[in-house]
Symmetry: C2
Subunit: 211 residues, 2 copies
């Protein structure tokens, strides 16, 4: 199900997980300080991942190198031309990252149905004293980290009746709404949510573009 190269990367990362400790340091001359409370671990871990893959000879290309825009999808191309997204969250809090902007995702998926096949490599981290360490790593498909919700068939971030982002299920704990069981369950929930929210959906366009 997952891309072969993604799987190799995932297995290698799992095998060295206990060594994935570090953090941010500031140094001048021979004095070095640990910097705590850095809010940008997500970006740092993603940048670190690109460098780590390159040093370990994995076949991964930074999405930004291709699009040359600040467009954020995909984070990486892996293997021949599979899509790889990196997500991170503080393991003390549970998953709370944005999977994607809801409307942009509907539109992009209708045009490029293969986007639903992207691999998601997910890191949870923890800070102990001054050290950052990687707590868990998962390789997932989008339907394995999304679920239904009270309000919509797809769990989303809603503020004042506006849907912003697709939000993750808590895939590693039993919760009220379990993650979807298949890609088609996710696709249906996505476009059904769009239909309820907008009065129309791009499901037909998605099917037409499906190869």
């Amino acid at each position: 199900m997952y891309n072969t190269e993604s799987t190799k990367i995932f297995n290698k990362l799992l095998s060295i997980k206990s060594t994935l400790k570090g953090g941010t340091k500031f140094s001048l001359g021979n004095v070095t300080l640990d910097i705590v409370g850095n809010d940008s671990f997500g970006n740092l871990i993603q940048e670190w991942f690109g460098e780590w893959c390159s040093r370990n000879n994995f076949n991964v290309i930074d999405g930004k190198a291709i699009s040359k825009s600040s467009q954020t999808f995909p984070d990486f191309y892996v293997g021949k031309d599979s899509l790889l997204e990196i997500k991170t969250f503080n393991g003390a809090n549970g998953p709370s990252f944005d999977i994607a902007n809801f409307e942009a995702y509907c539109k992009s998926l209708a045009e490029f149905p293969e986007r639903a096949d992207a691999d998601y490599l997910i890191f949870s981290y923890e800070m102990t004293d001054i050290e950052l360490h990687i707590k868990d790593i998962w390789l997932k498909k989008i339907w394995e980290i999304t679920c239904a919700s009270d309000r919509y068939p797809l769990k989303t971030q809603v503020k004042k009746d506006v849907i912003y982002n697709i939000r993750p299920s808590n895939w590693y704990k039993p919760t009220k709404y379990a993650s979807f069981k298949s890609k088609s369950e996710f696709i249906e929930a996505l476009f059904e949510t769009q239909k309820i929210y907008r009065g129309y959906s791009l499901y037909d366009e998605y099917k037409a573009n499906l190869k």
Copy 2:
């Protein structure tokens, strides 16, 4: 004129200035990234300075350790009970730091006239590629880094007719307004500015508290 310990610290720093290179790095496992474009060099250098003094056995106490509040004056106590402020600026741009909030400084100086005797240790830094280095270091009194301006006898940051901060002269380059030549010149300019701005000044209170 400067505190003896401040002077020792300054001389030691000057003697190792060429080694004061470094920057911010993020690491996990055996992969380390240089982090560029860090906007918080000021805070980092100040924190670094405290650690550097402690490792080099200089008699310096972090002001935060005494006040236990987020109060920012003084940055450090040096020697017996002298005041030491740390200022930093990007050497590519020239000095643009805030010396102090104008009104808070007037009030605090009127109450504690010794505040005018604080030493200012000033670092200019530069980023070359991915490396931060200390370009220049100065030890100064406040009247050596302040000057007059077109609008007020003391150069300040003014937005929509509101005075916010006392801003530095460009003490190391010839400019329209040279730095003050003495403490009394600065004191007069400070309270004269307050009088023009507020219609009153705390100069009499300052004189009354002067030991």
